[in-house]
């Protein structure tokens, strides 16, 4: 178990270092951030001064090692645009993104698993065909467009729900969240639905194929031969088996929810780190981009580790040595 975690952490470190290198050189080779930091009518002298100030006149590898040293200390430089520590900016915005992503994940599971189970256990039922057709639609819907349509329908035309922002927030343990006010829930609802949409289809499909496969297994037939009720068979024998792939995939998909929140946050003006990233990209705010990538990669690595541990908790056949029994 410990050996497994250590090995995984070592792997994670390699990924992180690779990402640092890629992102750093990516931001250096392409685009010159100086132009973002000086006024349009700046003289050559002013430009050179900014270059020196930020160390852009040094060779790339020296800049890289300086950068690497900073990273070791958790310092990603100051945002060119905001003038504040990039990592602080990102971390400030992170709770809002996590809140959104988590709400979306919960929605996806709550809607997806029952529908998927139904479609998997009664594949020939007309409703199952409807569910599967809807899931193809859900798979195909471009998230950003659905976001626009949700705003148009529920905010502009019906006026039921607010279109932008996080609403009234409450500070809990130093984290601002909209989960404790009605206004906050109203603001959260549309973006969360929007973000959940892709994953609902995924959950439906995973659950359905898992349920179909499991229901054909001998152990289900044997469970029936024992005289168990359908509720027990579905709720324990089948669900426990399909939970394994669902937890694994959803854990990994949580990262993609965080990534996709860039789109949702932009549309709904949700003050998370995704919106911040897009602004940083548009302004070529290099430290902010790098800090974002680092935070997200770290997040992914953590999630992957958690998923692996959960996986072994769910499936007794897997021991955390990396090999299967």
């Amino acid at each position: 178990m410990l050996a497994f975690i250590i090995r995984r952490l070592a792997q994670a470190l390699v990924v992180i270092v690779a990402m640092v290198v890629l992102v750093f050189f990516g931001t250096h080779v392409i685009g010159d951030p100086v132009w973002m930091m000086v006024p349009g009518d700046a003289t050559q002298e002013q430009i050179e001064q900014v270059r020196r100030e930020f160390g852009f006149d040094q060779p790339a590898y020296i800049q890289f090692f300086r950068f690497l040293g900073d990273v070791m200390q958790g310092e990603f430089g100051r945002s060119y645009v905001h003038g504040e520590s990039a990592i602080t900016l990102i971390l400030e915005r992170m709770p809002a993104t996590m809140e959104l992503a988590f709400a979306a994940l919960v929605l996806a599971v709550v809607i997806g698993i029952p529908l998927g189970l139904f479609a998997g256990l009664k594949p020939d039922h007309p409703l199952s065909r409807g569910i599967m057709a809807a899931s193809i639609l859900g798979f195909s819907l471009p998230t950003f467009w659905v976001g626009l349509m949700l705003i148009m329908l529920f905010s502009v035309m019906l006026g039921w729900l607010p279109a932008t922002g996080q609403g009234t927030t409450v500070e809990i343990f130093g984290i601002r969240t909209s989960l404790f006010t009605l206004d906050g829930w109203k603001h959260l609802f549309l973006p969360a639905v929007n973000l959940a949409l892709l994953k609902v289809s995924l959950v439906i499909r995973l659950t359905r194929s898992g349920a179909r496969e499991a229901s054909l297994q001998d152990y289900v037939k044997f469970a029936r031969a024992k005289g168990l009720s359908p509720a027990r068979i579905v709720g324990v024998h089948i669900l426990k088996n399909i939970l394994i792939p669902i937890v694994t995939v959803l854990g990994l998909e949580f990262g993609s929810l965080v990534a996709f929140s860039v789109v949702t946050e932009t549309i709904f003006a949700w003050p998370g780190m995704g919106k911040l990233l897009l602004e940083a990209i548009q302004r070529l705010d290099r430290p902010l981009i790098v800090a974002y990538v680092m935070v997200v990669v770290l997040l992914f690595v953590t999630i992957n580790l958690i998923v692996d541990i959960l996986y072994s908790a769910l499936d007794p056949r897997v021991r955390l040595t990396g090999s299967q029994a």
Binding site: M152, V156, L206, D218, F260, T266, Q282, V293
Partner: protein
Amino acid sequence: MSTTAPAALAPEQSPFRRFASRFAEDRIAMIGLALLAIIIALAALAPFIAPQNPYDLARVDIMDSRQPPGAVAGEGFKMWLGSDGVGRDLVSGILYGLRISLIVGVLSGVIAATIGLVMGLTAAYAGGRIENFIMRIVDLQLSLPSVLVALILVALMGKGVDKIILALVVVQWAYYARTVRGSALVERRKEYVEAARSLGLSHARTMFRHILPNCLAPVIVIATVQTAHAISLEATLSFLGVGLPQTEPSLGVLIANGFQYMLSGKYWISFFPGLALLVTIVAINLVGDRLRDVLNPRLEK
């Protein structure tokens, strides 16, 4: 032994005929196929059927901007779906936009599939360090969400058709590589490959003549899914303002242009291009879904 009944054998047919008739059994998939054919035809014929060339700024009149569906343009033709913020007829805009979206999606798909095939086959055939190295990159690539990778790549490289295709190739090739390696490994263990090698056929020949054809079915299935994904991703990036430039108005660009008018109730500028995008993606996915069922029921996701 289970209670599945022994199936009676169907009469002999050529593999393709059998495949086609199996495919056609699903009516919804056939609708998807028909839709896709229509969409491709519309996109290909856009210059001939569109009332207006949206690239030709001389023909686009700012006076026609933000007209609702059914309004008549300054040039006299009726704008069935209205016009966008700079006065482009939306029907024309969508037809031309489809062209760009399809070209970007298909081209990136083909390039990614080619790279993925070569990498996957090489990994499966070479084994050892080479395989490890390739699969590590694939794993790394697949562990990162494609939106994010594409977003940052395009942000770094700048706008343009070539750049967005490159970004889409980067986020797609690993899927092909993984799938190809998977099925190539299965094929490799089969007897006929052993037989081909014992006959003294070269490695390359064994790989391309014997293993590759047997890996094609899964590749075709993911190609449909990936192409739909690529089209959607391009639209997303363009919507976020980091994809295609205003001079190449893909569907995503059209939708983005409509965003600012949305809150004032001018829904059509974003709605219709989005609908076109949706129908395209749904059509491809319907076909892909059926292909997966027909070609390989136990394909890994």
